[in-house]
Symmetry: C2
Subunit: 179 residues, 2 copies
């Protein structure tokens, strides 16, 4: 099952590496950024899981109320023969309905991009119906793996939604702030 493996891969190859270090990374960021991320509830990686698998490389294109602010400190690790492989997350500024600025760490769940591409490649033998089913399986599997992971407890927020990006201009920023 494609999505089962992608959820495991996302955990083993990324979340298990970065989530336990996120707190330290944020504290280091705050020291040089005037304590910008002061609310401890925002000390989480917000992971966007659109079941449509519609992924924007630039979050500002998904919602003009979301702006790139700054990078968190990079993590460099030797991984599978790549010396000093770089892992990093970004801090985004999100404008709410009262025009107030909020700051959070957010990104899409990268494996959904693979599901999207597979459903558009004839040689992958993967239909759009398969894709929705696999996106749901990805979410359920990931949720279960993370719930059983002591190292990652409290450091993430899964934001799953079925809405298409085109439906309402500021759907995504509202969804992120709701969490």
């Amino acid at each position: 099952n494609v999505a089962y493996g992608l959820a495991w891969s996302y955990y083993v190859g990324y979340l298990k590496i970065v989530l336990p270090r996120l707190k330290d990374s944020i504290e280091e960021f705050n020291r040089t950024n005037n304590n910008l991320l002061k609310w401890k509830e925002t000390w989480k990686l917000h992971i966007l899981i659109p079941l449509s698998c519609e992924i924007y490389d630039d979050l500002q294109k998904a919602d003009s109320n979301i702006h790139f602010w700054r990078d968190l400190p990079e993590l460099r690790l030797d991984q599978a023969g790549t010396k000093g492989r770089v892992y990093k997350q970004n801090v985004y500024e999100v404008i709410d309905e009262d025009r107030k600025l909020n700051y959070c760490i957010v990104e899409y769940a990268t494996p959904l991009k693979t599901l999207f591409t597979m459903s558009h490649d004839e040689s992958a033998a993967f239909s759009r119906e398969d894709r929705l089913e696999q996106a749901k399986l990805f979410y359920r599997t990931l949720e279960e793996i993370l719930q059983n992971s002591k190292e990652c407890a409290g450091s993430y927020r899964l934001i799953v939604y079925e809405e298409s990006g085109a439906s309402e201009g500021h759907f995504l920023s509202k969804e992120i702030l709701r969490h």
Copy 2:
């Protein structure tokens, strides 16, 4: 099928991005490194695929005849909400049986690390027999995807082997140089 999705993910999320740019990256490296990679046959990403899924994060630990030399120029791209995500490969120095120095770009196929970890986690319901079967499926799927990819033609070398790293001290360097 776990490995089928991992092969697609490896292609869509990495090889399709870096392989078409590899030639330019090597030319830039050569300008500032005295034309070190002069043989065009080495202008490829050598991808190590141990069917045992035994992956070393540090290639020198896999074979003391392999030494990290230098980084290729980094590629920074916006990907799935991560602004300026970093992709890079390394140049390694490989000592051959005549004690001559050879230079090449090499790394393990990272998704095999996921297969290895899954086979050791009870909740993944994934045995060591499954793992070997999936490693072979990963290789077959990846080979087929890459053969059909015009953008990646001539820029990679798949080095698949069944040997365990422990069997013979310089097995890996010989295997890389053989290719």
